[in-house]
Each structure stands twice: as C-alpha cells, then as structure tokens.
Symmetry: C2
Subunit: 391 residues, 2 copies
Amino acid sequence: MTDDNYQDPNPTRERFSFSISETDGAARTGEIEMKRGSIRTPAFMPVGTAGTVKGMLPENVEELGADIILGNTYHLMLRPTAERVYALGGLHKFMNWQKPILTDSGGFQVMSLSDLRKMSEEGVEFKSHIDGSKHMMSPERSMEIQRLLGSDIIMAFDECTPYPATYDQAKDSMELSMRWAQRSRDGFDEGKDHASIAALFGIVQGSVYEDLRETSIKALSEIGFDGYAVGGLAVGEGQEMMFKVLDFTMPKMPTEAPRYLMGVGKPDDIVGAVERGIDMFDCVMPTRSGRTGQAFTWGGAINMKNARHKEDPRPIEEKCGCPACTKYSRAYIHHLIRAGEMLGSILLTWHNLAFYQDLMTGLREAIGQKRLKEHAEQFRADYARGDIDPL
Amino acid sequence: MTDDNYQDPNPTRERFSFSISETDGAARTGEIEMKRGSIRTPAFMPVGTAGTVKGMLPENVEELGADIILGNTYHLMLRPTAERVYALGGLHKFMNWQKPILTDSGGFQVMSLSDLRKMSEEGVEFKSHIDGSKHMMSPERSMEIQRLLGSDIIMAFDECTPYPATYDQAKDSMELSMRWAQRSRDGFDEGKDHASIAALFGIVQGSVYEDLRETSIKALSEIGFDGYAVGGLAVGEGQEMMFKVLDFTMPKMPTEAPRYLMGVGKPDDIVGAVERGIDMFDCVMPTRSGRTGQAFTWGGAINMKNARHKEDPRPIEEKCGCPACTKYSRAYIHHLIRAGEMLGSILLTWHNLAFYQDLMTGLREAIGQKRLKEHAEQFRADYARGDIDPL
C-alpha cells in the first residue's frame, strides 16, 4: 500500500524531466517538469528555512513568480522535527505550499550552526543549537528526513568543503562526499513510494581545484542523478574566484540535467552564473536583507534606513509591480524600518523577492532572444550605481 | 483656496451623522456616516499606532470588516512627525488606508510614555522617549497635529486621570480637561477646511465619581461635540469597577451621538460595555496578544506556545474564516511562534483582528434582533472556558 504522504500528487505529470528551449552561449533557458509543477529556468528559489519564507504568505511568494522554494533540513529536523511534519501530512500541507520544494541535505548547516560536531566516515554527530539535544546525521538519515518532509528535490548529503582548503584537504573532503553521494543515491532509492514522485540531485565538490571538480563530476555522473549542484562556493572566496571555478567546472558538467549553484547570491552573482550555464539558485539575500532595511533596485541596492529617503514620495523602484512599490513611498518604508515596524520587513522582503523573480524573468527572456550578453552588460552598468554592497 | 490635503474626499457624503437603527436595552446598533466611509456600530477600531496596524497590510484589515482604524498622535508627532506626514499628503495616503481614521489626542501617551513631563494650565512639556527631543503639547497643538495628519475623527486633548485618584484630584483633573475641551473645540474650528470634512469628539472624565462624570458630561454637551468618549477607564480599575462607572455614566450621556470607550478591551469587556450602550472601541489587545502568541477563540483565549498544540491538526477556531484558520493548523502556528517566525505573529494578529470584527458583527446582529441578552450570556459561558486571561 502506498503511504498517503507519497500518493502521486499528479499522475498525468512526469516525475522529473528537463527541457532546454533555448541556449545563448553557455546559458540555457528551459523548464523542469515535476509532479507538483513546472520550474522555469534559470530559476531563483526563495528560502523557507523553517517551513516559512520569512514574513511572507506562501500565496504571495507564488504570485511573485516563484515556481519552487527551498526548505532547510537541519532546521526542520530539530524543530518541529521531520517526524512531526510527516505526521501532519508533510511539509507542503504543513506550510500551505503546493508547488515543488527542494530541501538541502542539512550538511552545510550541521557544520556551520550546530555545536560539538564529530565527523566520521559514517556521518556527523552534533548537538542542536536550539536545545543541545544530540543527533546523528548521515547520508541515510538525511535521505530519510528529506523523505519524511516530503521534499520534491532531495539533495545528496555531502561535506561542504571549507574555504580555503589545501589540495589534499579538498581531495579528501570531495572523496568523502562522493562516497556519501553513492549512499545518498541508495538511501533515496530505498524509499520507493517517495522516489517515484521526487528527484535526487548530486553535489559537485573539489574547492578551487579543476581536476578535483572534474573527478567529482565524473563520480556523480557514474552514480547518476536528476540534477547536479555546484557546492562549496559562496563560502567566502569572492565573486572573481567563484566565476573562475565556474569557468572551468561548467564545461565539464552534464548538459542535459539542471545545474544548481547552491547559496548564490547577489544579483550580479546570479547574472554571471547564468552566463556560465547555471539553471537554479537559492539565497537568503532577498529575504534577509529585506529584514535589515535593504532594497534592490535596477540602479543598485539601497539602504532604506538612510535619511535621504525620509521625505521621498517615490516608490522604491518605479519599474516594480509589487505592493511595496505600487502602494507605498520610500518615505513610508523608511519610517517603518526606522520605527522597527514589522510591515517594513514584510514590504521590503516582498519587494526584494519580486526583484529577484523579475531578474530571473529578464534573464530567461534575454536567453530566449539570444541577447543575454547585452542584457547582462546593461544590468551590470545600471546596477553598479547602487548605494551599497548588499549583505 | 482649499488646502489640497483637505479637499472634500466625497462631496456626496455628509461630514458626520449618526443613525441608530435598533436598540436593545441600553445597547444600540447603527451607522456613523463620514466623508471617507460608514462605520457600523458597535465598532471595533484596530490600532495603527505608528501609521501601521502592526504586521498587517491595510487591505487585509479592511477585508476583515474594520470600517475605521486608530492612529496615535504621540507616536506620529515624534516619528515621522505630523509635518512630514502632511507634506507627504496626509496619513491616509502615507499608510494606504482610505477609510476613516480616528486619532487620539496624544494626552494619554504623553503621560505614560514620555520623559520629564511638566504639566501646566497651558499644556504639557515633555521629552521624546525616542530621541530625547523637547516638545510642548497643548489642546491647540494637539488639534494642529491631528489636522496635519488629516484625521477624520479628532479627539479633544485631555488629561487621562490616573487611577486611583482622590475625589479632589479627580475633580481638579476633570475641570482642567473641560477647559482643555473648550480650547480643543476652538482649535479644531479654526482649521476650517479640515473641520468641514472631519469630526471632533469630547472625552468625559471624573474617575469613579458619579457627580464628577455628570458634571463632565454637562460641560462637554454645552460645548458640543460630534461624539463623546468615556476616558479614564481601562487604567487598572478592573472590569467590575469599569462596569460600575459605565452603569452610572451611560444614562447621563447624550443618546443621539456616538459613545466611545477608549482603550477597551478584552472581548468580555466589550460585550459588557455594548450592553451598557457603548458604540465604539479601540484596543491593542488583538494585535499585541497576537505578537505574543495568544489567540482568541469562542471557547476563550489560548496560548499558542503551549505544547498541547504541537501536533494538533485543527485550526485555531473552526468557526473562523480568516487565512490563519482556513489554511493552517494549530501545530503549524505553534511551530512558527516557538521558532520566533514573523509569519506566526502575522497569522495570529490576522486571526485576532478577525475574531474582534466577528465579535462586533455578532453583537450588531444580536442588537438588531433584540436578543443581545441571550447572545451575551452564551458568549460569556463559552468564552469562560479559555486557557488564559489575555494580556
């Protein structure tokens, strides 16, 4: 008998397919089809860490054009726990989001947020940063948690190689991740009901070393995944190094599967990565920077706390159709942020998510019309005029 | 030439009228008509202290059935300042709320929130709790500020007599407030353009002393106001004493004008006050308690932080049509509140405001059908089953 939580949400749709409708240089635009909906690529996935895109109703996230959101395995396994989410019908029902959800493997946050970690071939022992409780995370457990959540795109459990790493450190770490990738594949496949409606992505590691990245791609390709992520970037190496790594990594990646750059990034990071062939992104930047008073505009990022906005009747961004821009002035949003009002965070988050989705729409259209180079150059020229380097 | 900010928003509507459609004992139901819209009474006014009903979009506050909201003069005069709100087109435009707004006079918050107060016949000198800047508040200045904000219902500047007060203290305080009431009337009338589209309410003081309340009502009636508020209650005297004061005050109030009980209150306070003839209420309770994890249900107030909700798939209140109740489980909202997620505050605020509006709808219908007594008794019997006494 099929587990109720894993009943096929739409028998008329494929489990997973990716079609590229147009290419422009290394860039591609297309669509991922999944049981719970289609994902237009290049795609930006808003981050819903603990079962909520902070400050937003899910229907509003959807209205902005998000086809998929990301949930964090580490946060959800600790609170409310994957078992409780499962008992309540899965993450989609719990948080009232019916489109696809991608969950990370928990590996990155286990290393960056938890206390008292102990790594071994088996996995990672750690203590919760919330209540000090002890947990063991392994490829098998990560697959189980992501399955309990009912995720649509499950990420393999890996070690995000710290930056900087020596060649030997990066090699050892990548090789461990590749052994864990095989165990992730096996663990995913064991959950047959769920595996028939969900997808599994592998994660390329290898730090800044070209041959290690190549070895990692080969290892993952041999195992076989629905999509391939580039991991270990956006961890402090800077945009120049990140693009350099993409420059030698992307040409070696499978072309027929989606490519996902994890945790990226600033708008100009995304534009540069799309030019290099990336199809999917996630980042807390639009949501987090919204809560700290930053707003994205086509003329660059601005700090809404700045006194120069206090009497400005204009919207944040004239060309934006979001509620923050169509109904409110910069002066009002400045006031809300200064007064610590929740609505300030809500409106800026809303606008920033709208901006990111509009950014992706523009990139998809430019690729579709084979004018990505001019589009990207115009974007960079305009965007460089901003006040601030965003968070 | 008419000031743009005070152009008649709707020449086809009266400045102010109040019609009572039905009475039931001392209770009445009816409608206040104003330039910016009608207010069904008894009415609950959500509090939008600093130009925002905390955590809510104004269109959602309106959808819940609010015909009017309250803004706080004290907060707005300090930040962003009344002059800036005026320059930006007035409070309605600033915060995107086109229905009526009532502003308090600032008197209550000057006394409860500011530093270094110095009271005189002229008014109150005080220092801002935000930045220490010095200000003078007087009946004339309060009228000017409320006019700059573009308020629809302006409250006379008074002293909210502290509780407890001796007879002599209460008498002196009330007499000062009555002199200030005349100065408020004069100040309001001087702003001719605004006075032609707005209304002015007087405030009855006199603490718990029947003859002082009577004297106050007579003094205000002689000056003449569009509505009459009962002030100096909900300041620590408790429900029993509050009802006792209403019992001897309400029969002396003008019957043809709306009666407003300031700062009240819990749902059962409101029901009891409606039975005694009150037409309008405002209170931070639904919004503030929402942010601290409390939810109102017809079976009483409950604390959503409580572990008993952690696996409960039911909505907060089965009989509620708000988004929190139609789309989410108690378990999810419990999770959000425990995790400190903004969406938890948003959904609980939303629900609590829906509950308060539903409470008023039920009271209006019961009065209309002359069955308020049974309705109120049933409400009290059900409501007493709650976990907690709300904030």
